[in-house]
């Protein structure tokens, strides 16, 4: 190094010569952070990728794979957030989404048609909770780690506003929607798992792909949405604000519960 003291060999990129030796592993930058060396990262990326491909239900592996492959997409999301007032507020306040920060009971008392109620209905119908999200561990920059965390925690909202179930073909459709909207490479690779779908599901998915790509690419960058401030907003108004339109009506495995009302686009089977 010219301006510095040591000369270092081996590079990760020609201008940022920096190889972290295990011995010089830096201290964690935020609680839960696991700093990794470059070879470790490569190994983790390949390993988690393979696992995620063959066992898509392993959410933890999908999460690790997402972190490992984010690359320039995360800073780009950060830029999108810094560009608008709502996004800057999220970065400043760093809100988290789980059952301790979000009062689900209060949301379920909101009038039908509001975003909050739609979300709770969706959670009930799919039988999921907001607590199933893995914490981010391997992104070094704390701010980028938060962006990754935010993306992960907001994923369910995309399902909810579009009225999409969680079964695998809809999951892929939402992932492709996210790819067109946010550009995280992992979401595109999720599209690869299409080849492992049975033909019937694949056919159903192909109806959703054009919607996912068009709607995702033309909508406002969804990472910049302060969802928690919009619980009371009418979900159709919200979609209009964001430039999101309805996908073809999905087929739900589980019929709509008695009082939940369900999402506007759902079709019973």
């Amino acid at each position: 190094m010219r301006l510095g003291s040591r000369r270092q060999a081996q590079t990760s990129s020609p201008v940022f010569k920096r190889v972290r030796h295990v011995a010089t592993r830096p201290p964690p930058a935020y609680p839960g952070h696991v700093p990794l060396t470059l070879p470790e990262k490569a190994f983790m990326a390949v390993g988690s990728g393979l696992m995620a491909f063959f066992r898509p239900q392993r959410g933890d592996m999908v999460a690790v794979f997402g972190e490992m492959t984010a690359g320039p997409a995360l800073p780009q999301l950060l830029d999108r957030m810094l560009e608008c007032e709502e996004g800057r507020r999220i970065l400043k306040e760093r809100p988290r989404i789980n059952s301790s920060t979000v009062d689900l009971a209060a949301l379920s008392r909101l009038p039908e048609g509001t975003f909050g109620r739609t979300y709770v209905n969706w959670l009930e119908r799919c039988g999921v909770t907001p607590d199933t999200r893995e914490p981010v561990r391997y992104v070094d920059d704390p701010e980028l780690a938060y962006v990754m965390q935010r993306y992960r925690e907001c994923h369910d909202f995309y399902h909810a506003i579009n009225g999409m179930p969680v079964s695998v073909e809809y999951e892929i459709a939402v992932k492709l929607f996210e790819f067109a909207n946010l550009g995280l490479p992992m979401t595109a690779l999720a599209g690869l798992t299409t080849i492992r779908l049975p033909p019937k599901k694949r056919a159903r998915l192909s109806e959703y792909i054009p919607w996912a790509l068009r709607c995702g690419s033309s909508a406002r960058s969804l990472i910049t949405v302060y969802w928690e401030e919009r619980w009371n907003q009418n979900v159709e108004d919200l979609k209009c604000d964001l430039g999101v339109w309805d996908p073809p009506p999905p087929i739900w495995r589980k019929p709509l519960g008695e009082a939940t009302g369900g999402t506007a686009t759902a079709v019973e089977v």
């Binding site: 067109a180 192909s206 792909i209 054009p210 919607w211 790509l213 068009r214 995702g216 690419s217 033309s218 430039g243």
Partner: protein, 568 residues
């Protein structure tokens, strides 16, 4: 003086500069940031856009210089039903721009006319292409939910709206009845352009905008060459009055490509339309000098009679004029009637015009295919017939350099175009829009808005687009001037095929500015989505191609058999 210089050379220099500044202020030189020369649609649109821009109006001192009397345009008023003969088809992209700028709300809407459909056909082969904004789902939507691809607007209506808009923005001063006497370079002090006006004022311009038309003095000052050529063609314009439509709303434009040039019928109201007829100069002279009733019946036949008869009529008119006689209405009417007879056009056919009363023709059941032709013209609005030569020209550059630095050209000063696609005025408006965008961008980075670097983006973007437009229009003109069999055949087959392909037609309309915001999502993603969809839809395109080729082949066979029949 905050410009203080510590070095000795610098001090000497600054003293010299100071002296010079004092000298120039003595001669009442007004410092301006933008001086726009020309109060035509492009110049006024530029001034309006600067007035409405985020920052420009606040920080820039803008002056617009016009030799004419702008109050005449401001007070322009025509009775309902009467229309000026200078009409443009405003694309939706242009309308959107005017809307954003705030000019559009001052346009008298009742005097404009949305164009929903377009009928374009070949004067020789009759190969036809139809555009429908509603069917192709392109274009803007009006309040009633109907799509339209363009809107007919009188130029004066636009100019008046811009002037009304500018009245709300006194920061932009209009200097009318002020002729540009000379434009010179400052000899010292940076070499900025000095504009001397007939009123005795002198403006020192950071940026001098030439919106001063085809013979642009600004372009001459900037020593920018302009290349181009005149067409052996004169355009006749007039305001037509016709019987109301019966089967269709009055929202269809018609254009027929005759070998002498295209004739276009552009709707203005249920009973009026604007004519742009490009034809040979001698014919144009004869027709504009003749009784307007003769021009009216000639217009009707020019949309209907086969080319061979149009040629015959042209020759007759030339003969009469050459013999020194004047054209007689009855004589021409008889000639047309005879040609209709020899083509076996029956009196109730939509192709009949000579002996049909335009008002009775619209009563009762309309003849089949009557929607393919414009309604019959019964007379012309008085004093609206005019003609002007057609030419194509394009400046070599839009930005002046060296001695002509700090100048930029927009509108007709930069490019003049054959009016067959109605793109002349739109080009000027888009120039203004793009220039304001460049100026705004330059202000945001603290750049000097008169510098080459600040203007380069404007020049690059608009030059390429205008050049593509000019050469496309020119090629179209040349293609349709030809009467050569193979050329006519090829262009007709092309048109027949295109007419079957809605996607291609939609694309053509979008590239002609039918869509206000070109694409909502990014084009790449849309393409990807479309390609996923068209895996199954690919079959359709193949089908359309086959149909197009079949109908073209049938046409050729018919022509061939006609030719054989004629010979035997």
């Amino acid at each position: 003086m905050s410009l203080h210089i510590a070095s000795r050379a610098g001090v000497r220099l600054s003293q010299r500069i100071l002296k010079r500044n004092l000298a120039t202020t003595a001669a009442t030189v007004e410092e301006c940031d933008v001086v726009i020369v020309g109060g035509g649609p492009a110049g006024l649109a530029l001034a309006s856009a600067l007035a409405s821009s985020q920052n420009a109006w606040r920080v820039l001192k803008v002056r617009l210089v016009e030799a004419g009397d702008l109050s005449k345009i401001r007070e322009w008023n025509m009775p309902p039903g009467a229309y000026s003969n200078r009409v443009s088809s405003l694309t939706n992209a242009s309308e959107d721009f005017l809307n954003r700028v705030g000019v559009w709300r001052h346009v008298a809407q009742e005097r404009t006319c949305a164009m929903e459909d377009m009928q374009v056909w070949d004067g020789i082969s009759d190969a036809r292409i139809e555009f429908s904004a509603n069917r192709l789902e392109v274009g803007s939507r009006s309040g009633s939910g109907v799509s339209y691809m363009a809107r007919m607007v009188e130029n004066l209506n636009l100019q008046r709206a811009a002037l009304t808009h500018l009245e709300e923005h006194p920061s932009i001063q209009l200097l009318d009845k002020a002729k540009v006497e000379t434009i010179v370079n400052e000899e010292t002090n940076g070499g900025w352009p000095l504009v001397h006006l007939s009123t005795g004022q002198t403006l020192r311009a950071r940026l001098l905008v030439g919106a001063d038309g085809f013979n642009s003095p600004v372009r001459k000052f900037a020593r920018i060459q302009s290349f181009g050529w005149s067409y052996p063609t004169q355009a006749i314009v007039a305001t037509l009055r016709h019987a109301p439509h019966t089967i269709r709303p009055h929202t269809t434009a018609y254009q027929r490509f005759l070998p002498t040039g295209p004739i276009a019928f552009l709707p203005l109201s249920p009973t009026s339309a604007s004519l742009v007829w490009s034809t040979r100069p001698d014919l144009a002279a004869a027709l504009t000098k003749a009784d307007p009733a003769i021009l009216a019946i000639m217009i009707n036949s020019a949309f209907r009679l086969p080319n061979i008869s149009m040629k015959y009529l042209h020759d007759r008119i030339r003969g009469i004029v050459a013999s020194g006689a004047t054209l007689q209405l009855d004589e021409i009417r008889q000639e047309i009637a005879w040609r209709e007879q020899s083509h076996q056009i029956e009196s109730h056919s939509p192709l009949a015009s000579a002996l049909v009363d335009p008002f009775t023709s619209v009563v009762g059941v309309p003849p089949a295919d009557s929607e393919l032709y414009p309604p019959l013209v019964h007379d012309l609005q008085p004093d609206t017939v005019a003609s002007f030569p057609l030419r194509l020209s394009h400046a070599e550059s839009y930005i002046g350099e060296g001695k002509g630095a700090r100048t930029v050209l927009i509108g007709d000063a930069a490019h003049t175009v054959h009016p067959l696609a109605g793109q002349g005025l739109n080009g000027g408006l888009l120039d203004a829009e793009c220039l304001v965008r460049s100026i705004d961008g330059a202000l945001a980075t603290g750049s000097d808005i008169g510098s080459y670097t600040a203007l380069a983006r404007y020049a690059r973007e608009r030059y390429i687009q205008n050049h593509a437009m000019l050469s496309a229009v020119d090629k179209l003109h040349k293609l349709y001037s030809s009467e050569l069999g193979p050329v006519v055949w090829a262009r007709s087959v092309g048109v027949e095929i295109i007419n079957e392909l809605d996607v291609l037609k939609a694309g053509m309309m979008i590239s002609a500015g039918a869509n206000a915001n070109v694409m909502k999502g990014s084009p790449g993603w849309n393409l990807l989505a479309s390609s996923v969809e068209s895996v199954s839809g690919g079959v359709q395109i193949a089908k359309a191609l086959r149909q197009g080729l079949q109908s073209a082949a049938a046409g050729v066979l018919k022509q061939a058999s006609n030719a054989l029949a004629g010979r035997s």
